[in-house]
């Protein structure tokens, strides 16, 4: 129970910090379009809530199957990923191997530096960076979609992305959420015509996780002149516009996602 109270307390004060940072961006004129800030804030909040749902599912089932800790012991999710113990036992070199996912050093290095400042809370820092980055990345995709389709894309877009298989990995202490955010932001930068920013964010993504190299994909797609028209045609197709088809897809994809998450919780390496 003590851990539950502690983690909940830590979570809420960090959420408050993020909220105040958002208010600051509006009041200080960093972001002038308050309507856009509100919409993006809602999207970010939605992503974080989905992330918490994933987290609760992982913590609940892992703890009930393990049978050793309280079902409210969210910190044990780190245990499931073997993170905190490994960090405290092996120190920095192991961070590079464990956190890097596919062996790239930048994310674990960032977590290590921040951990030296913030009471060695490596697991919490890694999770928070992933949450915030995934939320920021989704906001970038959301804004890009709104501008491309020239209409307000519904939040269902967020759930469509976050229910994809392996989406739960975005909210774990690995570097996937962080990389997803960077790749999405780089794609948005390219869409807005800011090629240098696309390159910088893409390189950071690639240095964080080998999957970050996928930042090149939007660049390749942008060179295919017929690609934008193709996307519009697909989205306006009667089949894909049909709500039953869409909901059916959502049902299918969340089922697959759930099955993979179940296997992951069961400890089978995915």
């Amino acid at each position: 129970m003590g851990q539950f109270i502690g983690h909940t307390g830590g979570f809420f004060i960090l959420a408050a910090v993020v909220l105040l940072a958002g208010i600051f961006t509006a009041e200080a004129g960093v972001v002038r379009n308050r309507a856009a800030l509100k919409k993006n804030g809602k999207t970010a909040l939605y992503v974080c809530c989905i992330g918490i749902v994933y987290y609760l599912i992982m913590a609940y089932f892992k703890n009930t199957t393990a049978g050793q800790t309280s079902i409210f012991d969210f910190g044990a999710v780190f245990d499931f990923l073997g993170l905190d113990d490994m960090i405290s036992t092996y120190g920095e070199p192991f961070i590079k191997d464990t956190l890097s996912g596919l062996g790239m050093p930048l994310f674990p290095f960032l977590v290590h530096i921040l951990g030296k400042i913030i009471f060695e809370q490596y697991g919490g820092i890694a999770v928070w960076l992933n949450f915030l980055s995934a939320a920021a990345g989704m906001c970038c995709l959301y804004n890009m979609a709104c501008e491309f389709f020239k209409k307000d894309v519904t939040p269902h877009m967020a759930i469509a992305v976050l229910s994809l298989p392996f989406a739960f990995m975005l909210f774990t202490p690995g570097s996937y959420g962080w990389t997803f955010g960077l790749v999405s932001a780089s794609a948005y930068a390219l869409y807005k015509g800011n090629t240098p920013l696309w390159l910088i964010l893409g390189i950071i993504a690639a240095l964080s996780n080998k999957l970050g190299i996928l930042f090149i994909v939007p660049f390749v797609l942008s060179k295919i002149n017929t690609f934008p028209a193709f996307v519009k045609r697909v989205s306006e197709n009667k089949l894909t516009s049909n709500p039953y088809i869409r909901l059916g897809y959502l049902f299918f994809i969340t089922s697959v996602d759930g099955a993979i998450l179940f296997l992951a919780i069961g400890g089978i390496h995915v």
């Binding site: 109270i5 502690g6 408050a16 105040l20 200080a28 809370q121 919490g124």
Partner: protein
Amino acid sequence: MKTEKTVSLRNTAGNNREIITVFIIALLSRAFLFALSLASLRLSGNGRSLIETFGSAGDVPHYMYIAQHWYQSSGEKANLIVFYPFLPMLIAAFRVILRSYLASGLVISWLSFAVASCYFYKLLRLDYDEEKTAYGMVGFFTALFGIFFISAHTESLFVMLVAISIYYTRKKNWLAAGIAGMCAALTKTQGVLLFLPAVYEIIIDSTENKRFDKKSLFTLLIPLGFFLYLLLNRIYGGSFFKFVEYEEAEPWYNRSVWVADSLATSYNTGSGNFTLSMFLYWPQIIMYFIAVLALFVGAYKKVRTSYLVFIGAYTGLTYFQSWMLSGGRYISSCIPLYVVYAAIDNKYVKNTLLLVTGILNIFIAILWLQGQAIM
């Protein structure tokens, strides 16, 4: 006939008659709390000496010692460098007139509370009407652990300096804000956090007016106050952060940890002792969540963001302690929290909170007078 100027003066931070009224009511509120608590204590058959109660409670003997002998470089009192110097300095100054260290501490506490109330009133009147201001004031008067605004602790002095600093920050009187903030930084660790709302207001002011006011650099006095305290550590302890070493050692065993660990420790330690969990640990856990909840409520109610920044930083810094015993007292001293209370519109919620805090305030005061573990 009311002129526009008269109305404007009246609406801006209260007139002199109102301020004097608030001053007197604040003193009376302390006297009432003290008298009611003492009467309850005596009627229950407890004849504990008041001199002993006020003179030996918590950190009071330490402040009295510093006021009398100042900091020591060696010996068993060397670790008193963990206590900040401004209150002992004031006690030593008042003692010249009052001839008693304890009496000086008590007078400073009562006067500081009254002045704090006046500046808090002026602060509330900047943004809220009379009714909300009245709620905010009453909320402040019924603060849990309000007994510490009567005793010779740093709480009264600290809330006064915070109220003054934040008020003058709002009025863009950067020099006054800086001086008050510097004194607050020399009173408690949390005092240096006044720099954050000041910086926030400076940024907003610069953005709105599209120019940087050079006088705002006076707010650098606030971190200077903390630096002066570090300098005392260097002079008397040999290193700038000697106070950290002493806090980690006996008798405090306190080091900096993440809030999650602090809260977990509070719960786990209290689990083994029902009485202490009721007096110490559960109150500080609950007060933490009240403070954090206030941030969200305040944001929703559009309370001045610089106040919320202070509340957030104050709460975080307060709970970065591995073995905390006074979390409830510290949160009660976070004066912008009562602005959030004033901003609530729902009267049912406000009145219920007032009822609960009013009852608990007396209860805590009596327990403290009894010598229970209220810290």
